[in-house]
């Protein structure tokens, strides 16, 4: 299997720090593409257009605005959210990140932590990509023949929240987001037959 190239997004205003982190990645030989954002709009745009694996954010972007971070995390649950700080930050904010780097971390510590975080994620991906769970297949089958989340929840005796979680997992494992494309995915995996679909 070819090595996986990770997509890393750095949210930072300072060009010096941006370049510093970039250089650390380049020198380490870590297989990744690096993207930069200098504000939250840029961040959102890149998160939408690229499947970012890891965000490294200057925590100060979320000072007094912890809810924006929570919202972003919920919209992009497959992304690992890390921070780095070079001034005092509230614990409540720091706890929202999977890990917080310090400005005085050395190069090796920094890279090995990134590897650890992305490795965990890729392992879990490999474990999940093979097949959907029985429940996820049930949700997918109902979804592609036109049932709404609410109807699926009622049919399978689940909460809508659980149905949503299954949908997110299906998308994460398949890489397919739109319903129209999920239909083709479901046919390709023999979860449904083309004849069972309405024209």
């Amino acid at each position: 299997m070819p090595p996986i190239e990770f997509k890393i997004l750095i949210l930072e205003n300072s060009i010096i720090i941006q370049k510093g982190i970039y250089r650390i990645f380049i020198e380490s030989g870590f297989n990744c593409s690096i993207f930069f954002a200098t504000n939250l709009d840029d961040l959102k745009h890149t998160l939408k257009s690229r499947e970012i694996d890891l965000v490294i954010s200057n925590v100060s972007f979320f000072f007094n605005d912890i809810n924006s971070l929570k919202l972003l995390k919920s919209h992009f649950p497959d992304t690992i959210w890390t921070g780095f700080q070079y001034s005092y930050s509230e614990n409540q904010l720091l706890q929202e990140f999977s890990y917080v780097f310090q400005i005085n971390d050395n190069q090796d510590t920094f890279i090995s932590k990134v590897k650890e975080l992305t490795q965990e994620d890729s392992n879990s991906d490999i474990a999940h990509t093979v097949n959907l769970t029985t429940r996820e297949v049930e949700v997918l089958k109902l979804l592609v023949v036109g049932f709404s989340n609410k109807e699926i929840a009622d049919k399978l005796n689940l909460s809508i929240h659980t149905v949503n979680t299954h949908r997110k997992n299906i998308t994460q494992k398949s890489g397919i987001k739109s319903l129209a494309a999920l239909i083709i995915f479901a046919v390709s995996k023999n979860y449904i037959h083309i004849d069972s679909l309405e024209s």
């Binding site: 200098t38 939408k48 257009s49 987001k177 129209a180 494309a181 083709i184 995915f185």
Partner: protein, 238 residues
């Protein structure tokens, strides 16, 4: 490498062939001789910084600030976007559709039948969206420009350009789905060569569409918002 106003156009394209496209979208066609970007931009009467910013966007280099202020810049951006639309509708989408049709003729699996329908719906969706931009958004911006130029500033404008910020998300999402389906899931049946051509087309379309969205979000919308605010301020003080 950052493209500068002094960069020679031919060298820029020899290093990054994909940049033929943005030049074409600006209405600047081959060939370029030994001219640099400044010279070309003077010849075509386009702000040189606008050209270099767009070219750099294609190389994933984003300037910290886009500082375009003039109505001429706005007009150039609209021309660029309109040319993109023409390229998508008249060239790229038909080319993708033709390749899907070719695959259909040699690979008759159920997934390909569904894919053909998926793309046909997708093409309609994209066409409708682009038609909306051509018929509503761009004329609205041109109307704002006319108001400002004719000092006819007493008109009430209730529409705001902000409303079309998120339109491209769905289009890009489905394009990604299409690539994923072709790469991961749809069984191959003697269609490797055509599928490769199709994927190259899809990646190129995706890249151009992505920059198109960025130009709208980072250059066009802020400029129009500025224009709207100028009009509002004028109305408030007169």
């Amino acid at each position: 490498m950052l493209i500068k106003n002094t960069s020679k156009v031919a060298e820029v394209i020899l290093n990054h062939h994909i940049l033929i496209l943005p030049f074409e979208h600006f209405g600047i066609n081959l060939s370029f001789g030994e001219k640099n970007i400044s010279e070309i931009s003077r010849e075509f009467n386009i702000n040189e910084n606008l050209i270099t910013s767009v070219l750099n966007l294609f190389l994933e280099i984003e300037p910290k600030d886009f500082t375009f202020n003039t109505v001429d810049d706005l007009r150039q951006i609209i021309i660029y976007l309109k040319n993109c639309h023409l390229y998508y509708i008249e060239e790229k989408l038909p080319s993708i559709e033709e390749l899907i049709n070719q695959i259909t003729s040699i690979n008759n699996c159920s997934e390909i039948t569904l894919l053909k329908k998926f793309f046909s719906d997708y093409k309609t969706e994209v066409a409708n969206h682009l038609k909306y931009e051509n018929d509503v958004v761009h004329p609205y911006i041109e109307y704002l420009i006319t108001l400002l130029e004719n000092k006819d500033l007493n008109n009430e404008n209730t529409y705001s350009v902000l409303v079309y910020k998120d339109f491209h998300d769905d289009i890009e999402e489905k394009l990604n789905d299409l690539k994923n389906l072709l790469i991961k899931y749809i069984p191959i049946s003697n269609d490797q060569q055509i599928r490769r051509k199709l994927l190259f087309d899809l990646f190129e379309f995706d890249s151009d569409l992505n920059i198109h969205s960025k130009i709208e979000e980072k250059i066009l919308i802020p400029l129009v918002e500025k224009l709207e605010n100028n009009l509002k301020e004028y109305n408030a003080t007169n």
